[in-house]
């Protein structure tokens, strides 16, 4: 018997938009032979309970991710720039609308 395993199919990441006005959010992944079948499978696997009204499927290999080891150098600068947050600034108590 010729063996076609679902592993031979690419992995797709599934993103679901819960409703208009919200962004698509990662829901999980699945295997499918092409984009069209990935969308159909995503509908069955990830939206059985009205979780969304729009789906994206993206080939997992097309996602470029940052390296967890670079977390410090990438995100630490934001940590130390506390003057980027409104709470950094002292304003007089009796001045409104600030």
């Amino acid at each position: 018997m010729s063996e076609v395993q679902s592993d031979d199919w690419p992995l797709w990441e599934v993103f679901v938009r819960a409703r208009q006005g919200l962004s698509h959010k990662h829901a999980g992944s699945l295997h499918a032979p092409d984009a069209e079948m990935a969308l159909q499978n995503a509908r069955d696997v990830y939206t059985r309970r009205r979780e969304g009204e729009s789906l994206w499927v993206v080939r997992s290999t097309d996602i470029i991710a940052s390296d967890p080891d670079d977390k410090g150098s990438l995100f630490e600068p934001a940590e130390s720039k506390i003057y980027r947050h409104p709470t950094f600034y002292k304003v007089p108590d009796d001045v409104e609308c600030l």
């Binding site: 018997m1 010729s2 063996e3 076609v4 395993q5 679902s6 592993d7 031979d8 199919w9 992995l11 999980g28 992944s29 699945l30 295997h31 499918a32 032979p33 092409d34 069209e36 079948m37 069955d44 696997v45 059985r48 309970r49 991710a65 390296d67 967890p68």
Partner: protein, 322 residues
Amino acid sequence: MTVSPIPPEHADHPAAPGFAAKIEAETKIEPRDWMPDAYRKTLVRQMSQHAHSEYVGMLPERNWLTRAPSLKRKAQLLAKIQDEGGHALYLYSAAETLGTSRAEMLDALHTGRAKYAHIFNYPALTWADIGTIGWLVDGAAIINQIMLCRCSYGPYARAMERICREESFHQRQGFEIMVSLCQGTAEQKRMAQDALKRWWWPVLMMFGPHDGASSNSAQSTAWKIKRQSNDELRQQFVDMTVPQADYLDLRIPDDELRWNEARGHYDFGPIDFSELMRVVSGDGPCNRERLGARVKAHDDGAWVREAATAHAAKRRARAKAA
């Protein structure tokens, strides 16, 4: 003795302190983070077995799809079974983030190397069994899975949150079936009682051996994969279920079951764990039938996988030509 999240072989690994700090701080471990090999291996084993359980869990119920007493019950059961298949898919995907492949996991199941929950090797003899499976088997699974929502591995915890939301319907549909039977004819009530009698002890075994006899628990607890002990979860289940059985006016088949005022919990009789071991090792009432059905479904589905692959290839070729 406290167990460290860092196994001795990784004691000097430069990334080990970072891993231990994340576990300590309740920061989830994500797929590309460094993790001890044993942590990865434990998760692959546990998550794939969990996926297999969801998968095989469809089988005891399938006979009742064509025998459900009404169209409403049939539609509900169909939705439940579809959920179980979906849960298996969430869990297989989550396990794949650890570097194992779908084919490896399925092969381990089909060749009998991987285990699945022993409970699915019991037969569903009457319609009351379908009610009892939803009420008790899904009820017990929810207790375990609520705990796993807090497990340290991110993809597993996220899959569990999704699954827990969906399982709650399973448990309630099961209990509703039991209410209908228990408020029905004397024969229906007897059927409900008979199902409870057969399922009660196997369900208590779902939480695993007693804490003292559970070999992997200490390490899993140190890794925060496991957040509560087998006996704690089992007690929680008994305390939750006794009042539900009382409501149904059904008798739980345990002469030693009684409320312990001092402990604030129900006491219950000894569990025959030799039965659990026997069923897990392959000698339950339906092991061969379940595995046979699973392998057959996979083999019978081969043409669908082949057709889908061929269809995709044809469309790719056409798109290229155009």
